[in-house]
């Protein structure tokens, strides 16, 4: 442990209970990765604050000694956003789990960062409300992590992402100061700093309290499981539904391989022999849901559906969703190793991109199972491989990267909801120019000039905050100093 870390550890021991400061090597290793397990770094120090004051004190100490820190909620992220820093502090929010306010009359709840996503909905449901963003990991992921990653979920097609549901936050700056951002009401005066913080992957600071919007539980929900022969048919049905002006709460697609995996894992009883299934959920006022259901059923049939199954009770609905939400983990049943990809395309490009992925798969011999949020073009190809076979991991990486290139070619994005983190920083220059990235990093420099808040994530090359790009004239400073020569 270097002296700076030791100094932060001393501060931590003064402000935190003994058990909340971890320096033991074996215990540190339990925090070496998040949900993206092939990146592993053992942190130098782990702290588990119980409240915002303790957390701010740790950050202040980090600022004083120039020590990097990384915030971690439940550690379910899929882009290595919570990957620790070897010479840094991992700040774990799992003990900050209070729902401090539940105010249905204001459609607001105030929660600490370690609160589990689904627990907000559980607490709001008796009042007739719920928290809309629902990442597949909602039973274990934390609100703090959701805020960092701007998490989506199946229902963001209709209801939007975390950023649309967060109104206010207590925010600990990279100096360890606590400032309120936003509030109960929208449109706080000044720049929308909260809008920049949500989705910034912990690189701007740490949120210690979040005011979230609660949404009225819908009067009626219908979940339909539809089997098709091919993904093209399922894609055409999706297009037909959207073009008809229907905005379902969710439209999810899984291809044959993904269905096979889900079936093996959770016995969700999806239509046998389907080349693709759609999970379509309609919600809202009963009379409209009834009509939309009739139209959706007709459009699926017209596009070749061979089986349509309406969930008739909550248990049925839960089983349908279980198949979908367990799909990533389920792939472990059919492949020893896999990469979860997360790319976005304009929805209308779905058929071309799917056939291009199929070509990539067959030409490389790497199997790809497809699971995606079809309504908004967010693809989660699962690239399967066996790490025991030499070169298989590299081949899978190549296919995975090529899929991102396809997304960019079609005007899409390299990540729809999992974040850039450590995993995709290298792909950022394929989507944005140097000027774009430089401009984004101006925000970073404003919030964290020391570059200590989750450094090394999102951006492939850090921007020196004192530096003004493009204005260097003459020789390189090292050359001037006689330390380097130009060859």
């Amino acid at each position: 442990m270097n002296t700076d870390i030791a100094a932060v550890a001393d501060v931590a021991r003064r402000v935190l209970p003994e058990a909340a400061v971890i320096t033991d090597r074996a215990r540190l290793r339990t925090y070496e990765c998040d949900g993206l397990a092939h990146y592993r770094v053992t942190p130098a120090l782990v702290v588990i604050p119980e409240d915002a004051t303790q957390l701010a004190a740790i950050v202040r100490a980090c600022a004083e000694y120039g020590v990097p820190y990384v915030a971690r909620g439940s550690g379910t992220g899929l882009s290595g956003g919570a990957l620790p820093h070897a010479d840094g502090v991992l700040v774990v929010t799992s003990r900050m789990r209070a729902i401090t306010e539940m105010r249905p009359e204001d459609q607001r709840a105030v929660v600490e960062p370690g609160v589990i996503n689904l627990d907000v909905t559980r607490a709001a449901t008796p009042h007739g409300y719920y928290y809309a963003p629902d990442p597949s990991s909602q039973q274990i992921c934390s609100i703090g992590g959701n805020v960092a990653e701007n998490s989506g979920g199946a229902h963001c097609l209709k209801y939007g992402f975390t950023t649309n549901h967060v109104l206010g936050a207590d925010f600990v700056t990279s100096e360890g100061d606590t400032v309120p951002l936003g509030g109960d009401a929208p449109d706080s005066p000044g720049y929308d700093l909260l809008g920049a913080v949500v989705g910034s992957e912990g690189t701007l600071g740490i949120v210690t309290s979040t005011t979230v919007k609660l949404v009225r539980l819908p009067e009626e929900v219908r979940t339909i499981l539809v089997g098709f022969e091919t993904t093209d048919q399922a894609g055409a049905a999706t297009s037909a539904i959207i073009s008809a002006g229907i905005v379902p709460a969710a439209i999810e697609m899984m291809d044959a391989l993904a269905v096979e995996a889900a079936e093996a894992a959770v016995h969700c009883n999806y239509p046998a022999g389907a080349g693709a299934v759609l999970v379509i959920e309609l919600d809202g006022a009963a009379i409209e849901v009834e009509q939309e259901y009739a139209e959706v059923e007709r459009m699926c049939a017209e596009n070749g559906a061979f089986e349509q199954r309406l969930a008739t009770d909550p248990a049925d609905r839960a089983l349908i969703w279980k198949g979908r939400k367990s799909a990533f983990a389920a792939v472990g049943r059919i492949s020893p190793d896999y990469i979860v990809q997360d790319g976005v395309i304009p929805r209308t490009a779905l058929p071309q991109v799917l056939s291009a992925i199929a070509e990539l798969s067959s030409s490389s011999g790497v199997r790809v199972a497809n699971v995606f949020h079809a309504g908004d073009g967010n693809l989660h190809p699962l690239v399967l491989f066996d790490d025991e076979i030499e070169g298989a991991g590299e081949a899978a990486e190549r296919v995975s990267g090529a899929i991102l290139d396809l997304c960019i070619e079609h005007g899409g994005s390299i990540t729809g909801e999992h974040g850039v983190g450590m995993d995709k920083a290298k792909y950022m220059p394929r989507m944005y120019t140097d000027d774009d990235l430089d401009t984004m990093q101006m925000v970073r420099c404003a919030f964290d000039p020391q570059n200590i808040s989750n450094p090394g994530k999102i951006f492939p090359t850090p921007r020196l905050c004192g530096e003004v790009p493009g204005r260097h004239k003459g020789a390189h400073p090292l050359q001037d100093a006689g330390l380097a020569e130009v060859f």
Partner: protein
């Protein structure tokens, strides 16, 4: 009125950066300030050229879209160049199948609606100021009744291109709705009054045009009654597109009595709208009326005349508050004699004091409204006011995190040449 004059070399630099450069006239003033020159670039490259020339000559630059809200906010401390982007007026891309539209900053919102309306779609942002451009709407963050269901600009903007103060063109986001790659710079630009960068184009998520709509309205005679009705609609299964409240004195200001109307907009499928309207009528009581064609008085407009100029302007406020703070805000409105109109369903309302209200009275009203709104989790800011009144008011009020905001400004515009002084804390 302050008038800026530029030296000859600076004039020539701007003139060589942009084909259309004119001397400013009275119609070009930004609140109380008449700029030195008006540059009207025809493409993004010219916008960048103008900003580079302004950097080289240390000139201040104030961006303008269609010029409908230039008197809002605080007046700039300097305006050497008015950068008019009204010639950037094209709808760049409408991908109907993907429900997105991209338009240049100077494009009138109405043109965008026209372009997407033919495909049965809409950009679900209300035109609260007639003639407003996309860029102006974003920079001033205007919103109307429909924000209850769909949200405001921050919920619909998915991509943006800006030109920085140093002339560098940068984009963020993209043309897909779901995208978490990199920082969301668009959100920082929304409501920034042109102080961070010049917006040159924007991409938005679209929604299908509803097949049917209807307004259900009922008179209210007390703040408590209005709040009770609004809460009952919010908690019912009515899925309201908008919940508006209108509240003011019938008999001159500050009489201590007022009356109003609560109106609920329902949009969707024919049968659904009819069914939900019946639900809302039952909640609003016997006096409720329904109209499928007419918006209630006011519609998506402010409770003041946005076309008034100079001293004919009302003193106009934007108020935000937690939903259950509605009655308190209405009560304070009654006591301070302001006319109130806005989104009771979103906690965003607008208030006005008639033109001619003296500054002392305006200050008293603002202080009281601000106390009520901040006490209910929101804020009160001055949108517009006659010069003498505005200069006597704290336009933005307390701004938490102002230090961080200054740091953001310093990064984007280190010399403070973009719309200097137009925003919070003198930024």
């Amino acid at each position: 009125m302050r008038i800026h004059t530029l030296d000859q070399t600076a004039r020539e630099a701007i003139a060589s950066a942009c084909a259309d450069v004119q001397d400013a006239t009275d119609g070009d003033h930004v609140d109380t300030v008449t700029p030195g020159l008006v540059a009207r670039p025809t493409d993004v490259a010219q916008v960048a050229e103008v900003l580079r020339a302004a950097t080289a000559h240390r000139l201040s630059v104030v961006p303008r879209g269609r010029g409908t809200k230039l008197s809002w906010g605080t007046p700039p401390t300097s305006a050497d160049v008015l950068l008019d982007v009204s010639a950037l007026d094209r709808v760049i891309d409408h991908a109907a199948g993907d429900l997105i539209v991209a338009a240049q900053a100077g494009t009138p919102l109405a043109d965008v609606q026209q372009a997407v309306g033919d495909a049965g779609q809409r950009l679900a942002l209300d035109e609260t100021v007639p003639g407003t451009s996309i860029g102006g709407l974003l920079a001033a963050n205007t919103s109307g009744p429909r924000r209850v269901a769909i949200g405001s600009a921050r919920d619909l903007l998915i991509g943006i291109t800006v030109v920085r103060a140093d002339g560098v063109v940068a984009k963020a986001g993209g043309r897909v709705v779901k995208n978490v790659a990199g920082y969301d710079l668009g959100k920082l630009m929304i409501g920034s009054f042109g102080t961070l960068a010049v917006i040159v184009d924007a991409t938005f998520r679209l929604h299908p045009l509803p097949a049917a709509r209807t307004w259900v309205s009922a008179p209210v005679s007390s703040p408590a009654e209005a709040q009770r009705l609004v809460q009952s609609v919010l908690h019912a299964q009515a899925v309201p597109a908008a919940i508006e409240v209108e509240w003011g004195s019938d008999s001159g200001p500050a009489t201590g009595t007022a009356t109003g109307v609560v109106s609920v907009l329902l949009e969707g499928r024919e049968d659904g709208v009819a069914g939900r309207a019946a639900t809302v009528r039952a909640l609003l009581g016997e006096t409720a009326t329904e109209s499928a064609t007419d918006q209630p008085a006011g519609g998506a407009t402010y409770p003041w005349d946005v076309t008034a100029a100079g001293d004919d302007r009302a003193t106009a406020f934007k108020l935000t508050f937690a939903l259950s703070g509605l009655a308190d805000v209405m009560q304070t409105a009654t006591e301070t004699g302001v006319t109130l109109r806005g989104s009771a369903g979103a906690g965003v309302a607008y208030a006005a004091l008639a033109a001619g209200t003296p500054v002392e009275a305006a200050r008293t009203a603002l202080d009281r409204l601000r106390r009520t709104c901040t006490g209910r989790g929101g804020s009160a800011v001055v949108v517009d006011a006659p010069t003498d009144v505005k200069s006597g008011l704290d336009v933005w009020g307390p701004v938490p995190a102002l230090d961080l905001m200054s740091r953001v400004k310093d990064q984007f515009d280190p010399d403070h040449r973009l719309a200097p002084g137009r925003f919070v804390g003198g930024l």
